[in-house]
Symmetry: C2
Subunit: 270 residues, 2 copies
Amino acid sequence: MRAGMERRSDLIGLSPQALRAEIRQAHWDGPTAGLASGYAQANLVILPQTFAYDFLLFCQRNPKPCPVLEVTDPGDWRLSYAASGTDLRKDVPRYRIFHHGQVAEEVTDIEDIWREDFVSFLLGCSFTFEAAMIRAGLPIRHVDEGHNVPMYRTTLPCRPAGGFGGAMVVSMRPVAREHVSRAIQVTARYVLAHGAPVHVGDPTAIGIPDLEHPDFGQADAIYEGEVPVFWACGVTPQVAAQHAKPPVMITHSPGHMFVTDLRDEDLTIW
Amino acid sequence: MRAGMERRSDLIGLSPQALRAEIRQAHWDGPTAGLASGYAQANLVILPQTFAYDFLLFCQRNPKPCPVLEVTDPGDWRLSYAASGTDLRKDVPRYRIFHHGQVAEEVTDIEDIWREDFVSFLLGCSFTFEAAMIRAGLPIRHVDEGHNVPMYRTTLPCRPAGGFGGAMVVSMRPVAREHVSRAIQVTARYVLAHGAPVHVGDPTAIGIPDLEHPDFGQADAIYEGEVPVFWACGVTPQVAAQHAKPPVMITHSPGHMFVTDLRDEDLTIW
């Protein structure tokens, strides 16, 4: 922990606005899981304007991995819908900078590299449906074990748009067989947070050879009586960008999300 | 009925593909309501590529009036998702051509004015949720009376994008008070066909002074024990375009929809 940093326990119970202020003032650069409980967190993708149409179309064509919450006007670091008083250049704990689709560095603020042609996309995040599962009494292994969710590249094709393409990335949660139907129903409502699972039961059917070796995050054991359940994952656009190879793209760092003012319930259909 | 035209009764029971073939061969230029039952029909909006990003963003910001089913690549009159073997220049019974946001003419094919920079947007249509209401035993006044649904400009603001803006247009159906909750539940599932109502009960609350004078379509009587229920309407993008004033925009003519190969159920969340 660096000087001036808060402890995570000091952040519990803060409103989204207060939490973003701590992050903006560089008092927190850690993960956001479990913070601002009840409020939706979001994936962030920032691209030059010349890539914005193709990326927005990619999201329209692949709404389960890429559920769009808000798109900013070019150069604008504020939001008009998902949060107020924001500065997207500073309000995310950690950013990843990609050059030509490859991770180049990780930083805690992007003010000095901000460009007037940057368009920011906020996409719904799995924390929203995980909170709903927990409210329904469905345990989540990786949350209970305190590590990142296991994520896998699949052979499920995304519908391409311009240069953006590739396969869908999914996250996996082991679910007790008697809870599978409920897990699907509980998460399906959150259409702006990946919604219902894309596959239940057979990893090899979607091109995952070995659950013990996830492509991102950490593996989870699957116990007797449990079924692996797969949801579309917000890492998908990063893989899509490896196809489009934009000269620059900026995202949040995994687990270090943008915390919105939207309630989790705002990401349901209504 | 012009020479070579089919009678409507000859079209009942045709598959979407066969119906589009009749339309393409100029054997039918009438309304599509009730045809290809079980398959989703769609609003069509064609714009020059320079307006495509702003319009796609307008749809993302206003998903209830503008639920996007598919966006074509520039110049492409085929579809890759919603239907196969299509020619969007001929497969709609009647097109409306707008110049600078105003209706200029109505034609039955647009092959001669097609441009390589045209991008086509298919948007979900209320026929889908009306079919679901009918399946649920909820009567629909304008269907029973065989006229077009009454539509109204409201004071509900759309979230603007580029030049596209203005207020939401809604359609109104009288619903028996004891059926209101069911009507909401039945239609809410069809998130890609306007979904749940945007207002129930008080037209003046959304800026409609007089239900007897709709801005589009024909008025419906509201009987004792009925409540006016308002759904977001696919005419909204035509009003939005009156703000953006694109030099050219082409849509279907009201009620003369594009018939897709998608089943109505494909327009639910899943």
